[in-house]
Amino acid sequence: MTFRPSRRQLTLGAVIVVASLAVVETTVALVAPALAPTDADWVAAAAAVRAGFRPGDLIVAAPGWADPILRVHLGDLIPPEVAARMDDDRFARVWEVSQRGAHAPAAEAATATVARDERFGRLRVRLLERPAETVTYDFVAHGADARLTRRDLRGGVAACAPAGDRVNCAAGGSVLFRRQVVEVEQKLREALLTEPLANAALAIEFPAVPLGRALVIATGLHDTWMRKAARGTVEARVTVGDQTTELPVTDDDSGWTRTRIDTSARAGQTLPVRLEITSANPYDRFFAFAAEARQ
C-alpha cells in the first residue's frame, strides 16, 4: 500500500518544515558563537605543541584562515621562511592545530602517521609524521650565488652586475633581483624576485648545485596590483647540465606552479643549474621563483 499525502497534509507539512527551520536557524545562531575556540583553548594547544616541538617541524592551522591566531601563540616557532614556504614536502613532522573538523593540506599525506592526537576545548592538536624530502640545495637561500646574464635577440650575451636589490645588465638596463617574501595568488612565498627583460632573455645561473633525485621549482607572478595592471606572460626554462626543461607559462592566473624535474640520473653530481626567462610583454611582470634540489 502506498502513502499518498493529501493536499491538506502537504500544506501542513510545509508549515511544519518552515517552523522547524526557524527553530533550527535560531538555535544554531544562538549556539554557534560558543563553538569557536577560546583563548584558553589556544593557550593550552600552543603549550602542547611547544612542549613537543623540534627544530624543523612545521606548524599549521586548519582551516588555513586561523593562521594569524596560530601565529599569535606560536609565531616565534614559525619564521618567515616556514610561514612562506615553497611547499610542505621537506617537513617530516607536522603539527596541525585544527577546529571544526578541518584538516590542513600538509597533514593530509596518505603516508602520514598520527603520532599524537589531543583535544584542547574546541581545538584539536595532531602531530603527523611522514616521509620527507631532504633538501640538498635551496636556491632561495643561495640567491647571492646566482650569476645573471642578458642574452639579446642576436645571441649577444652580457653579464649583469649586482647593485643592491637590482642587477645592472650591460647595454640592457637594470632589473630587480632579490630574496623576498612575495605574494602570489594572495599567498605569501619566500622566493627570488626578478623581472623579465625587454627584447632579451634573462639567465640566472647557480654555478654549483649538488643534485639529488629531483629538482622542484615553483614559479608565479608577484603582486595582486601588478597582476591586475598587466597581462603579459613569462616563459621560463631550466637547464640542468645539458638537460633543458620548459616550465609552464606563467601568467596572471597560473598561481604558484610547481614543476618537478627528474634529476635521478645526475644524483650526487654538482652541476650548474640555469633558469632563463623571457617575456614578449615584460611591463609590470614581477617573476618570483623558488627551487630546491631534493634527495
Binding site: 536557524e25 584562515w65 594569524p68
Partner: protein, 605 residues
Amino acid sequence: MRRLPLSPRRLDWIITAILALGAVVWLLSVEGRQGIGRDEAQYFRAGERYWGWFSELSDNLAAGHPGRSFTASDIDRYWGDNAPDHPVVMKVLYGISWRAFHTCHCTGATRSLHPVPIRARHRTLPLFARESTAFRFPAILFAALLVGMVYRFARRWLPRGPAAVAAVLTLAQPHFFFHAQISCFDAPIATMAFAVGFAYWKSLRDWRWGLATGALFGISLGVKHNAWLIPFFLVAHYVWMRRGDLRARRLPRVPLAFLAMLVLGPLIFLAHWPWLWVSPLARTRAYVERHLEHEHYNFEYLGFNFNQPPTTTKMKWIRATAPFVETGLTVPVTTLALAALGAGLLARRRRGAPVAPESAESEARPAGHPSSLRPSWLRPGADVDRAPGAFVLVQTLGPLSVLAVPSTPIFGGVKHFLAAMPYLALLAGLGLDWLIRVAAEGLPDARAGLRRAAPAALAVLVCLPALVETRRSHPDGLGHYNLLAGGFAGGASLGMNRQFWGYSVLPMLPDLDRRVPENRQFFWHDVLSDAIWMYKRDGRLSLEVGNTGFGEEGIARSEIGILFYEKHWAKYEAWFWQYYGTTKPVEVRAREGVPLVTLYRRGVR
C-alpha cells in the same frame, strides 16, 4: 473619557509608525559599535564641507552678496569634495543632521580636525553625544522609512501580521542591517528605489502618483547612480503588464509616470547638485563616465580575488553566480524559504485574481464609470491586471541580474543589490500569509484558541532567526553568513568576503589607545585619515595617536600597525614580517574564531 475610534486606516498608520520607530531605536542603539569605513569617512567630510557652503551662503546673504556663493570657485571649493563620485542628496542631509544634532566640542582640542574652519561654538540641538551618530541619523531615518513603506505596500496585499513581518524581515538581514546604519548611500538608494516602485505601482491607477513617481525618481538620482537602473525595471514590468497591446499590434501608451521621470528626473538631479551648475554637460558626463568605467576594486568570492572582469569562461560563470549565491548565503534561511513560497504563490496566481484573499479589494479593477476602465496614459493599469508577480519578480531579480553580468564590478558584495531585499521580504510576507492560512485551516475546529494564536506565533517564530542572526552579526555584518554557509566560520571556509574598507577596527580602539608610546607611530592600513579624525572627534581615540601613512613606507615608519584580512592585502603582511622582524602578531581581532584584524608590534618575539 471618550476613546478615539480606531479605524483600520488609522491602525495601519499607527503600526507603520511603530515599525519605523522601532527601526530607528534599534539602529540608533547599536550604530555606535559599528566602525567607520573609508567611504563613510569621506561622506562625513563631504557632508560637513557642503554644510560649510550653506553656512557661507547665509553669511553672504546677510552681507547682501549672495552671488558670491554661486561663483565657480566658491562652488568648487565646497562641492568639489567627493565629486564627480556621488551626487549629494544624502551627503547634504548628513551635513545638516551633523550641524543640527551634534554635541559641540568643536572649539576644543579637535577644532583642527574639521574640514571647514570652526569659527565659534555651534548652537545645536544636541541629540547625540557622538558627531558620527549625528551624521548617520538621516541614513537611519531612511532605513526606517523603508521599513514603514514595506509595511504600507505589503498591506495592499496582506493582513497586518504578515505585512508587519515583511517590514521586519527587510531590516533583519545582517548585510542590510550593516548598511542601514552608516552614512553611505546603499541603504538609502534601496529606500528610494522602493519608493519609486511603490509610487509607480500606485500610478497605474492614480495619475497623481505618476507625478510623484517622477519627483521621487529625481531624488533617487541624487542619492546614488543605482537609480539609473530603476526605469529599466519599471519599463520591463509595464511592457509585460500591457502585453495585450503588443498582441493587438499596438504600442502601449507611455504612462504619465515615465514622462514624469523623464522630465522631473534630470531637472531635480541637475538642480540638486551645485557642482554640476558650473558646467552641466561636461560634469554630468564626467559623473556618468566615472561609474560606467568604474574600477574593479578587489573582492573575495568563493576563494577567488576578483579585481577585474574575468577572462576565462570558467571564471565568467563563477563570477555570474555572485549575486545569487551571496543572496543565498547572507539572507536568513527562513526568510529565503518564506520568499520562495511567496514567489511560488505569485507564479501560480491567475490573471485578475487577488494576490492574497485580503487583497481582493485593493487589486480589483476600479469600479464606477466605464471611462475609468478605458486605457489611459494617466491610469495605464486601470483596464488590465497589474501583474504583481512580474512586478515583484523584476524588482527582485533585476538588481541581482545586473550584478551577474561578469563585466560589472562586484566589490561591494550585497550592497550593490540591496534594492532587491525589500521585495524579497515582501515575498516572505506572502509566504507567511499562506502558511498562516493553511495552518488555520489545518487545525480542528475544537482548537479555536490555538487557531487564534497560530498566526501571531508563526509570525514571531519566522522573525526570530532573522532577528537573532542580525544581532549575532553586529558589528561585523559583512563577515556574517547564514545557516547554509555556516556563519562567520563557514563564510571564511567558503572563501567569502569578510569586510572591506577598514571599518572593523573600532572594537580595538581602546586597546590601541593604551599602547603608548608606540601608537605615536601607528600604521592604520586601510583606515582613512578622515575616519581616524572622526574617531578622535568622537572621543574614542587620543589626539596623540599617530598615522604613519599608507603602503610599504607607512609600515617602515611605524612601531605598531594593523592589517585587515582581505585576500589582496597579503603583501602587507609580508612587509610587516620584513620591517618588524616577526611573523607573530600581538593580537588578532576575530569573530567566532575568524580573524578580521591583525595587530603587529615591531620586534615582538
